[in-house]
Amino acid sequence: MLKRILCLLMLCALLLCSAAQAEPRYPAQSGVTTDSAAVLSVKLLEDLRTLDKRLDKAGAPRLHIATVDFLDTADVQDYANALFTRWELADDDVLLLLCVGEERYAIAAGNGARRILPDTVLSKLMAGYLHEAFLGQQYDAAVSAFATGYVSEVCKACGVTVKVEDLFRSTSSGIFGNWAGSQKNTGASGDGESFLTREDKNSGFSLLKVILIVALLMLIFGAFRTGKKLRRPAGEDAPPPPPEAAPKPAQAEKPRYPVYFKPREKKPTPQYFKPRNPK
Protein backbone atom coordinates (compact mmCIF):
# COMPACT_ATOMS: atom_id res chain seq x y z
CA MET A 1 0.00 0.00 0.00
CA LEU A 2 2.80 2.34 1.01
CA LYS A 3 4.63 1.51 -2.20
CA ARG A 4 1.58 2.41 -4.25
CA ILE A 5 1.21 5.74 -2.49
CA LEU A 6 4.90 6.48 -3.01
CA CYS A 7 4.64 5.59 -6.70
CA LEU A 8 1.62 7.83 -7.04
CA LEU A 9 3.43 10.68 -5.33
CA MET A 10 6.47 10.23 -7.55
CA LEU A 11 4.26 10.23 -10.62
CA CYS A 12 2.61 13.43 -9.47
CA ALA A 13 6.02 15.00 -8.83
CA LEU A 14 7.19 13.99 -12.29
CA LEU A 15 4.07 15.44 -13.88
CA LEU A 16 4.53 18.67 -11.96
CA CYS A 17 8.18 18.84 -12.97
CA SER A 18 7.37 18.35 -16.63
CA ALA A 19 4.64 20.95 -16.40
CA ALA A 20 7.00 23.43 -14.80
CA GLN A 21 9.77 22.85 -17.33
CA ALA A 22 10.29 25.81 -19.59
CA GLU A 23 9.57 25.43 -23.27
CA PRO A 24 12.69 25.45 -25.44
CA ARG A 25 13.33 28.10 -28.04
CA TYR A 26 12.59 26.75 -31.49
CA PRO A 27 13.97 28.28 -34.68
CA ALA A 28 11.62 29.57 -37.34
CA GLN A 29 11.55 27.47 -40.47
CA SER A 30 13.44 28.90 -43.42
CA GLY A 31 12.99 26.62 -46.38
CA VAL A 32 13.91 22.99 -46.60
CA THR A 33 17.08 23.54 -44.58
CA THR A 34 17.04 25.69 -41.49
CA ASP A 35 20.64 26.22 -40.53
CA SER A 36 20.17 28.25 -37.39
CA ALA A 37 23.53 27.07 -36.02
CA ALA A 38 25.15 28.45 -39.19
CA VAL A 39 27.40 25.44 -39.75
CA LEU A 40 26.49 24.47 -43.32
CA SER A 41 28.09 25.95 -46.42
CA VAL A 42 26.17 27.96 -48.99
CA LYS A 43 26.96 25.36 -51.65
CA LEU A 44 25.50 22.58 -49.54
CA LEU A 45 22.35 24.59 -48.85
CA GLU A 46 21.94 25.06 -52.59
CA ASP A 47 22.46 21.35 -53.20
CA LEU A 48 19.89 20.48 -50.55
CA ARG A 49 17.36 22.80 -52.18
CA THR A 50 18.01 21.14 -55.53
CA LEU A 51 17.68 17.72 -53.96
CA ASP A 52 14.41 18.72 -52.35
CA LYS A 53 12.99 19.75 -55.72
CA ARG A 54 14.03 16.43 -57.21
CA LEU A 55 12.57 14.43 -54.34
CA ASP A 56 9.36 16.39 -54.55
CA LYS A 57 9.18 15.87 -58.31
CA ALA A 58 9.73 12.14 -57.87
CA GLY A 59 7.00 11.98 -55.24
CA ALA A 60 9.45 10.70 -52.63
CA PRO A 61 9.46 11.73 -48.94
CA ARG A 62 11.10 15.12 -48.64
CA LEU A 63 14.09 15.58 -46.39
CA HIS A 64 14.13 18.64 -44.12
CA ILE A 65 17.25 19.50 -42.18
CA ALA A 66 17.50 21.70 -39.10
CA THR A 67 20.62 22.67 -37.23
CA VAL A 68 20.44 24.30 -33.81
CA ASP A 69 23.08 25.31 -31.31
CA PHE A 70 21.42 23.90 -28.20
CA LEU A 71 18.31 22.05 -27.12
CA ASP A 72 17.53 24.33 -24.15
CA THR A 73 17.40 21.37 -21.74
CA ALA A 74 14.98 19.39 -23.93
CA ASP A 75 15.48 15.82 -25.03
CA VAL A 76 16.76 15.66 -28.61
CA GLN A 77 13.99 13.38 -29.87
CA ASP A 78 11.31 15.45 -28.15
CA TYR A 79 12.82 18.57 -29.67
CA ALA A 80 12.81 17.04 -33.15
CA ASN A 81 9.21 15.89 -32.76
CA ALA A 82 8.14 19.30 -31.48
CA LEU A 83 9.89 21.00 -34.38
CA PHE A 84 8.19 18.66 -36.82
CA THR A 85 4.80 19.59 -35.36
CA ARG A 86 5.55 23.30 -35.09
CA TRP A 87 6.67 23.54 -38.67
CA GLU A 88 3.57 21.64 -39.74
CA LEU A 89 5.57 19.28 -41.90
CA ALA A 90 3.64 16.84 -44.06
CA ASP A 91 2.88 13.24 -43.17
CA ASP A 92 5.46 11.91 -45.59
CA ASP A 93 8.22 14.33 -44.63
CA VAL A 94 11.39 13.54 -42.75
CA LEU A 95 13.18 16.00 -40.48
CA LEU A 96 16.81 15.55 -39.53
CA LEU A 97 17.74 17.61 -36.48
CA LEU A 98 21.38 18.30 -35.69
CA CYS A 99 22.18 19.92 -32.37
CA VAL A 100 25.71 21.16 -32.85
CA GLY A 101 26.45 22.45 -29.36
CA GLU A 102 25.28 19.29 -27.63
CA GLU A 103 26.61 16.86 -30.25
CA ARG A 104 23.25 15.13 -30.63
CA TYR A 105 20.98 14.38 -33.52
CA ALA A 106 17.58 12.86 -34.13
CA ILE A 107 15.09 12.20 -36.86
CA ALA A 108 11.38 12.95 -36.78
CA ALA A 109 9.22 11.52 -39.53
CA GLY A 110 5.55 11.51 -40.35
CA ASN A 111 3.60 8.27 -40.43
CA GLY A 112 3.62 8.19 -44.22
CA ALA A 113 7.39 8.53 -44.30
CA ARG A 114 7.79 5.83 -41.67
CA ARG A 115 5.89 3.39 -43.83
CA ILE A 116 8.46 3.96 -46.57
CA LEU A 117 11.48 4.33 -44.33
CA PRO A 118 11.00 2.38 -41.10
CA ASP A 119 12.76 3.47 -37.91
CA THR A 120 15.40 0.77 -38.33
CA VAL A 121 16.39 2.15 -41.72
CA LEU A 122 16.46 5.72 -40.42
CA SER A 123 18.60 4.64 -37.46
CA LYS A 124 21.02 2.86 -39.76
CA LEU A 125 21.19 5.89 -42.00
CA MET A 126 22.17 8.02 -39.04
CA ALA A 127 24.67 5.53 -37.66
CA GLY A 128 26.19 4.72 -41.02
CA TYR A 129 26.27 8.06 -42.78
CA LEU A 130 26.02 10.79 -40.20
CA HIS A 131 27.50 9.77 -36.87
CA GLU A 132 31.22 9.92 -37.37
CA ALA A 133 31.44 13.02 -39.52
CA PHE A 134 28.99 14.83 -37.25
CA LEU A 135 30.99 14.08 -34.13
CA GLY A 136 34.11 15.07 -36.04
CA GLN A 137 32.46 18.47 -36.56
CA GLN A 138 32.42 17.95 -40.32
CA TYR A 139 28.87 19.09 -40.70
CA ASP A 140 28.87 19.55 -44.47
CA ALA A 141 30.27 16.07 -44.95
CA ALA A 142 27.84 14.57 -42.45
CA VAL A 143 24.77 16.13 -44.05
CA SER A 144 25.96 15.35 -47.59
CA ALA A 145 26.60 11.72 -46.74
CA PHE A 146 23.28 11.40 -44.97
CA ALA A 147 21.40 12.99 -47.85
CA THR A 148 23.11 10.67 -50.34
CA GLY A 149 22.29 7.63 -48.24
CA TYR A 150 18.75 8.87 -47.74
CA VAL A 151 18.20 9.22 -51.48
CA SER A 152 19.60 5.75 -52.01
CA GLU A 153 17.15 4.28 -49.50
CA VAL A 154 14.22 6.30 -50.77
CA CYS A 155 14.90 5.29 -54.38
CA LYS A 156 15.03 1.68 -53.35
CA ALA A 157 11.86 1.86 -51.25
CA CYS A 158 9.78 3.94 -53.67
CA GLY A 159 11.15 2.53 -56.90
CA VAL A 160 12.02 5.97 -58.21
CA THR A 161 15.21 7.49 -59.54
CA VAL A 162 16.60 10.68 -58.08
CA LYS A 163 19.88 11.92 -59.46
CA VAL A 164 22.47 13.02 -56.89
CA GLU A 165 25.71 12.50 -58.76
CA ASP A 166 25.98 16.20 -59.55
CA LEU A 167 25.28 17.22 -55.93
CA PHE A 168 27.43 17.30 -52.81
CA ARG A 169 30.62 17.26 -54.85
CA SER A 170 32.67 19.58 -52.71
CA THR A 171 32.39 17.26 -49.72
CA SER A 172 32.18 13.90 -51.45
CA SER A 173 35.80 12.95 -50.87
CA GLY A 174 35.37 13.17 -47.14
CA ILE A 175 31.95 11.65 -47.02
CA PHE A 176 32.67 8.16 -48.08
CA GLY A 177 35.81 7.81 -46.08
CA ASN A 178 33.94 8.79 -42.95
CA TRP A 179 31.01 6.73 -43.83
CA ALA A 180 33.06 3.62 -44.55
CA GLY A 181 34.89 4.12 -41.28
CA SER A 182 31.70 4.52 -39.34
CA GLN A 183 30.32 1.37 -40.92
CA LYS A 184 33.32 -0.50 -39.61
CA ASN A 185 33.14 1.14 -36.21
CA THR A 186 29.44 0.58 -35.69
CA GLY A 187 29.94 -3.02 -36.65
CA ALA A 188 27.02 -2.90 -39.03
CA SER A 189 26.11 -6.29 -40.32
CA GLY A 190 23.42 -7.72 -42.53
CA ASP A 191 21.58 -4.69 -43.75
CA GLY A 192 24.56 -2.50 -43.00
CA GLU A 193 26.62 -4.47 -45.47
CA SER A 194 23.94 -4.23 -48.06
CA PHE A 195 24.02 -0.45 -47.53
CA LEU A 196 27.70 -0.54 -48.35
CA THR A 197 27.19 -2.58 -51.50
CA ARG A 198 24.39 -0.39 -52.69
CA GLU A 199 26.33 2.75 -52.07
CA ASP A 200 29.36 1.35 -53.80
CA LYS A 201 27.33 0.57 -56.87
CA ASN A 202 25.79 4.00 -56.91
CA SER A 203 28.91 5.98 -56.37
CA GLY A 204 31.44 3.84 -58.19
CA PHE A 205 33.57 4.02 -55.12
CA SER A 206 34.85 0.46 -55.15
CA LEU A 207 35.85 0.64 -58.82
CA LEU A 208 37.73 3.85 -58.17
CA LYS A 209 39.34 2.31 -55.14
CA VAL A 210 40.43 -0.76 -57.09
CA ILE A 211 41.86 1.37 -59.89
CA LEU A 212 43.72 3.52 -57.40
CA ILE A 213 45.15 0.53 -55.57
CA VAL A 214 46.22 -1.15 -58.81
CA ALA A 215 47.79 2.08 -60.07
CA LEU A 216 49.59 2.53 -56.78
CA LEU A 217 50.89 -1.03 -56.80
CA MET A 218 52.03 -0.71 -60.38
CA LEU A 219 53.76 2.55 -59.57
CA ILE A 220 55.53 1.10 -56.55
CA PHE A 221 56.64 -2.15 -58.14
CA GLY A 222 57.31 -0.54 -61.49
CA ALA A 223 59.52 2.10 -59.93
CA PHE A 224 61.24 -0.47 -57.76
CA ARG A 225 62.05 -2.75 -60.64
CA THR A 226 62.99 0.02 -63.02
CA GLY A 227 65.07 1.67 -60.32
CA LYS A 228 66.90 -1.59 -59.76
CA LYS A 229 67.62 -1.90 -63.44
CA LEU A 230 68.64 1.69 -63.90
CA ARG A 231 70.83 1.96 -60.88
CA ARG A 232 73.81 0.53 -62.63
CA PRO A 233 74.06 2.96 -65.52
CA ALA A 234 72.86 6.04 -63.56
CA GLY A 235 75.39 5.77 -60.77
CA GLU A 236 75.10 4.97 -57.09
CA ASP A 237 74.01 8.35 -55.70
CA ALA A 238 71.68 9.44 -58.42
CA PRO A 239 68.02 8.96 -57.55
CA PRO A 240 66.22 6.47 -59.75
CA PRO A 241 64.68 8.40 -62.63
CA PRO A 242 61.03 7.87 -63.52
CA PRO A 243 60.46 4.89 -65.77
CA GLU A 244 59.26 7.03 -68.68
CA ALA A 245 62.38 9.20 -68.61
CA ALA A 246 64.85 6.37 -68.21
CA PRO A 247 68.22 7.47 -69.52
CA LYS A 248 69.29 3.97 -70.38
CA PRO A 249 70.28 4.24 -74.02
CA ALA A 250 69.12 0.81 -75.03
CA GLN A 251 65.70 1.16 -73.47
CA ALA A 252 65.12 4.91 -73.62
CA GLU A 253 63.10 4.84 -76.80
CA LYS A 254 61.22 1.72 -75.96
CA PRO A 255 57.86 1.83 -74.24
CA ARG A 256 57.63 0.91 -70.61
CA TYR A 257 55.98 -2.48 -70.82
CA PRO A 258 58.70 -4.24 -72.75
CA VAL A 259 61.19 -2.89 -70.21
CA TYR A 260 59.00 -4.13 -67.43
CA PHE A 261 58.63 -7.59 -68.80
CA LYS A 262 62.03 -8.07 -70.33
CA PRO A 263 63.83 -9.21 -67.17
CA ARG A 264 61.32 -11.96 -66.85
CA GLU A 265 61.99 -13.21 -70.33
CA LYS A 266 65.73 -13.44 -69.97
CA LYS A 267 65.97 -14.96 -66.55
CA PRO A 268 69.45 -15.31 -65.12
CA THR A 269 69.06 -19.04 -64.57
CA PRO A 270 71.08 -20.08 -67.60
CA GLN A 271 73.92 -17.75 -66.56
CA TYR A 272 73.67 -19.04 -63.06
CA PHE A 273 74.08 -22.61 -64.08
CA LYS A 274 76.75 -21.98 -66.68
CA PRO A 275 79.57 -21.55 -64.16
CA ARG A 276 78.46 -24.60 -62.30
CA ASN A 277 78.56 -26.84 -65.29
CA PRO A 278 82.33 -26.49 -65.86
CA LYS A 279 82.92 -27.50 -62.27
Binding site: A20, Q21, A22, E23, P24, R25, D69, F70, D72, T73, V100, G101, E102, Q137
Partner: protein, 182 residues
Protein backbone atom coordinates in the same frame (compact mmCIF):
# COMPACT_ATOMS: atom_id res chain seq x y z
CA UNK B 1 -27.50 80.65 -3.47
CA UNK B 2 -29.18 79.90 -0.17
CA UNK B 3 -26.88 78.19 2.27
CA UNK B 4 -28.98 75.65 4.06
CA UNK B 5 -28.07 72.71 6.21
CA UNK B 6 -29.21 70.28 3.57
CA UNK B 7 -26.99 71.96 0.98
CA UNK B 8 -23.99 71.79 3.28
CA UNK B 9 -24.66 68.16 4.07
CA UNK B 10 -25.05 67.43 0.38
CA UNK B 11 -21.77 69.14 -0.43
CA UNK B 12 -19.98 67.26 2.33
CA UNK B 13 -21.45 64.01 1.09
CA UNK B 14 -20.18 64.78 -2.42
CA UNK B 15 -16.70 65.54 -1.11
CA UNK B 16 -16.72 62.39 0.98
CA UNK B 17 -17.84 60.29 -1.97
CA UNK B 18 -15.17 61.91 -4.13
CA UNK B 19 -12.57 61.16 -1.49
CA UNK B 20 -13.66 57.56 -1.15
CA UNK B 21 -13.65 57.14 -4.93
CA UNK B 22 -10.21 58.70 -5.17
CA UNK B 23 -8.86 56.58 -2.31
CA UNK B 24 -10.39 53.38 -3.58
CA UNK B 25 -9.17 54.02 -7.10
CA UNK B 26 -5.66 54.83 -5.89
CA UNK B 27 -5.42 51.78 -3.68
CA UNK B 28 -6.76 49.47 -6.36
CA UNK B 29 -4.56 50.92 -9.10
CA UNK B 30 -1.33 51.02 -7.09
CA UNK B 31 -1.96 47.63 -5.54
CA UNK B 32 -2.42 46.15 -8.99
CA UNK B 33 0.84 47.74 -10.15
CA UNK B 34 2.62 46.47 -7.06
CA UNK B 35 1.34 42.92 -7.56
CA UNK B 36 2.39 43.04 -11.18
CA UNK B 37 5.96 43.86 -10.18
CA UNK B 38 6.04 41.29 -7.41
CA UNK B 39 4.78 38.70 -9.89
CA UNK B 40 7.10 39.82 -12.66
CA UNK B 41 8.69 36.36 -12.70
CA UNK B 42 5.48 34.35 -12.77
CA UNK B 43 4.37 32.57 -15.94
CA UNK B 44 2.55 35.61 -17.32
CA UNK B 45 4.93 38.15 -15.78
CA UNK B 46 6.86 40.79 -17.66
CA UNK B 47 10.27 39.28 -16.93
CA UNK B 48 9.30 35.65 -17.35
CA UNK B 49 10.70 35.30 -20.87
CA UNK B 50 13.93 36.96 -19.83
CA UNK B 51 14.13 34.63 -16.84
CA UNK B 52 13.62 31.53 -18.97
CA UNK B 53 16.11 32.64 -21.58
CA UNK B 54 18.77 33.19 -18.94
CA UNK B 55 18.02 29.83 -17.38
CA UNK B 56 18.33 28.08 -20.73
CA UNK B 57 21.51 29.94 -21.63
CA UNK B 58 22.97 28.92 -18.28
CA UNK B 59 22.01 25.29 -18.91
CA UNK B 60 23.60 25.49 -22.37
CA UNK B 61 26.78 26.93 -20.90
CA UNK B 62 26.81 23.96 -18.53
CA UNK B 63 26.75 21.62 -21.53
CA UNK B 64 29.76 23.34 -23.07
CA UNK B 65 31.72 23.63 -19.82
CA UNK B 66 31.00 20.00 -18.88
CA UNK B 67 33.00 18.87 -21.92
CA UNK B 68 36.12 20.46 -20.47
CA UNK B 69 35.70 20.36 -16.70
CA UNK B 70 35.47 17.50 -14.22
CA UNK B 71 31.98 16.49 -13.13
CA UNK B 72 32.48 17.73 -9.59
CA UNK B 73 33.73 21.18 -10.51
CA UNK B 74 32.22 23.62 -8.02
CA UNK B 75 31.36 26.30 -10.57
CA UNK B 76 29.82 23.75 -12.89
CA UNK B 77 27.64 22.38 -10.10
CA UNK B 78 26.62 25.87 -9.01
CA UNK B 79 25.71 26.87 -12.55
CA UNK B 80 23.71 23.70 -13.05
CA UNK B 81 21.79 24.20 -9.81
CA UNK B 82 21.03 27.87 -10.40
CA UNK B 83 19.93 27.34 -13.99
CA UNK B 84 17.55 24.73 -12.59
CA UNK B 85 16.22 27.31 -10.13
CA UNK B 86 15.49 29.78 -12.92
CA UNK B 87 13.70 27.13 -14.95
CA UNK B 88 11.86 25.45 -12.12
CA UNK B 89 8.93 27.85 -11.96
CA UNK B 90 9.97 29.45 -8.65
CA UNK B 91 8.31 32.86 -8.34
CA UNK B 92 10.10 34.23 -5.31
CA UNK B 93 11.82 37.32 -6.65
CA UNK B 94 14.68 37.37 -4.19
CA UNK B 95 15.51 33.68 -4.70
CA UNK B 96 15.53 34.20 -8.45
CA UNK B 97 17.67 37.29 -8.25
CA UNK B 98 20.15 35.47 -6.02
CA UNK B 99 20.33 32.61 -8.49
CA UNK B 100 20.77 35.08 -11.31
CA UNK B 101 23.64 36.76 -9.52
CA UNK B 102 25.38 33.39 -9.14
CA UNK B 103 24.93 32.74 -12.85
CA UNK B 104 26.49 36.08 -13.70
CA UNK B 105 29.49 35.42 -11.48
CA UNK B 106 30.08 31.88 -12.75
CA UNK B 107 29.72 32.97 -16.37
CA UNK B 108 32.35 35.65 -15.85
CA UNK B 109 34.68 33.17 -14.15
CA UNK B 110 34.20 30.68 -17.00
CA UNK B 111 34.95 33.39 -19.52
CA UNK B 112 38.32 33.84 -17.82
CA UNK B 113 39.25 30.28 -16.87
CA UNK B 114 37.94 28.02 -19.64
CA UNK B 115 39.97 29.56 -22.50
CA UNK B 116 43.12 28.59 -20.55
CA UNK B 117 42.31 24.90 -20.92
CA UNK B 118 44.02 23.04 -23.74
CA UNK B 119 40.92 21.09 -24.66
CA UNK B 120 39.02 24.32 -24.98
CA UNK B 121 41.69 25.88 -27.14
CA UNK B 122 41.45 22.92 -29.47
CA UNK B 123 37.74 23.40 -30.07
CA UNK B 124 36.87 26.49 -32.05
CA UNK B 125 33.22 25.59 -31.75
CA UNK B 126 33.26 25.53 -27.95
CA UNK B 127 35.29 28.71 -27.81
CA UNK B 128 32.65 30.42 -29.92
CA UNK B 129 29.86 29.10 -27.71
CA UNK B 130 31.70 30.16 -24.57
CA UNK B 131 32.15 33.67 -25.90
CA UNK B 132 28.51 33.88 -26.91
CA UNK B 133 26.99 32.44 -23.74
CA UNK B 134 29.29 33.96 -21.17
CA UNK B 135 28.93 37.27 -22.97
CA UNK B 136 25.18 37.32 -22.53
CA UNK B 137 25.11 35.74 -19.08
CA UNK B 138 27.99 37.72 -17.65
CA UNK B 139 26.51 41.04 -18.63
CA UNK B 140 25.84 42.78 -15.34
CA UNK B 141 22.70 40.72 -14.70
CA UNK B 142 20.02 42.03 -16.99
CA UNK B 143 17.41 40.21 -14.94
CA UNK B 144 18.34 42.02 -11.74
CA UNK B 145 18.79 45.27 -13.63
CA UNK B 146 15.33 45.08 -15.16
CA UNK B 147 13.66 44.13 -11.94
CA UNK B 148 15.43 46.84 -9.98
CA UNK B 149 14.50 49.43 -12.58
CA UNK B 150 10.85 48.39 -12.35
CA UNK B 151 10.87 48.57 -8.56
CA UNK B 152 12.60 51.96 -8.45
CA UNK B 153 10.22 53.37 -11.02
CA UNK B 154 7.22 52.15 -9.05
CA UNK B 155 8.53 53.49 -5.75
CA UNK B 156 9.29 56.87 -7.25
CA UNK B 157 5.84 57.27 -8.78
CA UNK B 158 4.17 56.04 -5.61
CA UNK B 159 5.96 58.54 -3.42
CA UNK B 160 5.68 61.56 -5.73
CA UNK B 161 2.21 61.41 -7.26
CA UNK B 162 -0.97 62.50 -5.42
CA UNK B 163 -2.76 59.23 -6.00
CA UNK B 164 0.35 57.39 -4.86
CA UNK B 165 0.50 59.37 -1.64
CA UNK B 166 -3.18 58.66 -1.02
CA UNK B 167 -2.52 54.97 -1.69
CA UNK B 168 0.37 55.02 0.74
CA UNK B 169 -1.86 56.63 3.35
CA UNK B 170 -4.31 53.81 2.80
CA UNK B 171 -1.72 51.08 3.25
CA UNK B 172 0.05 50.48 -0.08
CA UNK B 173 3.77 50.03 0.70
CA UNK B 174 6.78 50.69 -1.42
CA UNK B 175 8.63 47.61 -2.72
CA UNK B 176 12.06 47.00 -1.18
CA UNK B 177 14.77 47.47 -3.80
CA UNK B 178 16.89 44.32 -4.21
CA UNK B 179 20.29 44.59 -2.60
CA UNK B 180 22.02 43.51 -5.80
CA UNK B 181 21.08 46.66 -7.68
CA UNK B 182 23.69 48.08 -10.08
Amino acid sequence: MKISLSNILFALLCVALLGVALGLGSVRGWSADRDEILNAFSADGELHTLLENRGMDAANLCVVAARHLPENDADLLALSATSGTLLSGVEDAQALLDADAVITDVALRFADSLPQLTSMQQSQRDMAYLTMLSGSLGRKSSLTHNYTAMVEDFNQQLTTSLSGKIAMLLGVDIIPVPGTAD
